[in-house]
């Protein structure tokens, strides 16, 4: 399993490097046809590069720290049983911790459902994982400003909670109607 993930990552990085090569070639061709644009392009690229290089290493270090300290077991332990406001709080908190890409969260969410976590909390957890990551907020702060970041953060939390609760209601309602298990092959998604 782990080996497969490593292989996939290696493939991914090779793909990225190929794309980088293509981007470079396209840039060189474009700029040799339009030499008058060279300065503007170089200036814009340089500005972004400086801004990113000041912030990315710190963000990566934070992500590394959290991924080592907050284990999957801790997440499952706290989120599996928590309910009500506390459940929502933990779902957002654990989602927001910088602990890896979204595809890591899906199996985790499925495990949580089997453990008896509420659908609403799972949805909130997944959505927080996708769009309320702490390093992500930091970069958003850097590039788009405090006002933009805070406004989007608050709105996102409100709507993610509304979404979690309403999806839970929809699932319960349709389960009652069908009396059939939902979810994947292994029956993830059933809540009794």
């Amino acid at each position: 399993m782990k080996k497969a993930v490593g292989k996939k990552q290696k493939k991914g990085i090779i793909k990225d490097i190929i794309f980088l090569g293509i981007a470079l070639i396209v840039a060189i061709i474009l700029l040799s046809f339009f030499p008058d644009r060279r300065e503007a392009v170089a200036a814009a690229s340089w500005e972004i590069f400086i801004e990113m290089i000041w912030i990315l290493p710190a963000v990566m270090v934070l992500m590394g720290l959290f991924s080592v300290w907050v284990s999957k077991e801790i997440v499952v332990k706290y989120l599996g049983k928590a309910s009500g406001i506390k459940g929502i709080f933990f779902a957002i908190l654990f989602g927001a911790l910088p602990t890896g890409p979204l595809y890591v969260a899906f199996p985790l969410a499925a495990a949580l459902i089997k453990k008896g976590a509420r659908i609403s909390n799972i949805i909130i957890f997944l959505s927080a994982w996708a769009c309320i990551k702490i390093p992500q907020e930091m970069v958003e702060f850097q590039f788009l400003g405090l006002k933009f970041m805070v406004a989007r953060l608050i709105l996102t939390i409100i709507f993610v909670v509304i979404m979690g609760v309403s999806i839970e209601k929809i699932i319960e309602w349709s389960d009652k109607k069908e009396r059939e298990p939902i979810g994947g092959k292994d029956g993830a998604g059933i809540r009794s």
Binding site: I13, F19, V41, S45, F49, L56, W69, F141, R152
Partner: protein, 160 residues
């Protein structure tokens, strides 16, 4: 160096020192993870840097504001929301892109819509989400996210 960047670096350094005092082995492991993920994201960072440079150098602000600016209206917002939903770029890297879009005339609404659908919705990861959580949950989550992302963006546009 901006004050935000200073703040983030000082904060990270604080965390790092604290972690190091608590557990050296774990901290070393964390740094290894950090270096690995940094190297992993680096090619995409350079692609985006080249892309933004070309974009700002060649596409005029007029054109940008026509497509995703204030006057583009709801259809412009819908267009970038869809673009965000199907795009698969790391969210960390979408922010510099968003910032340069705003600088060259895109509306806050459009940019907020793009970032929000980009992060919340994953068309690429949808098959995995369906496999792990079932069709119903996955499709509901992505579908409702799309609608809510547009609502969030519209509110953002009106308050900022």
């Amino acid at each position: 160096m901006s004050s935000t960047a200073i703040f983030i670096n000082v904060f990270t350094l604080g965390c790092l020192i604290f972690a190091f005092l608590k557990n050296r082995a774990k901290t070393r492991q964390a740094l290894k993870v950090a270096v690995k993920s940094f190297l992993r994201i680096l090619p995409i960072v350079f692609i985006i840097i080249i892309f933004i440079g070309l974009f700002l150098g060649f596409v005029s602000p007029n054109l940008i504001s026509e497509i995703v600016g204030e006057q583009s209206g709801f259809s412009g917002v819908l267009f970038v929301a869809l673009l965000g939903a199907i795009s698969h770029i790391p969210s960390l890297i979408s922010f510099p892109l968003a910032a340069s879009l705003i600088k060259s005339g895109a509306s806050v609404t459009a940019v907020a819509a793009f970032i929000t659908t980009l992060t919340m919705i994953g068309i690429m990861t949808l098959p995995l989400e369906i496999k792990e959580l079932g069709k119903k949950v996955a499709l509901l989550r992505n579908g409702i996210s799309f609608v809510f992302a547009i609502i969030i963006a519209l509110i953002m546009g009106s308050i900022l």
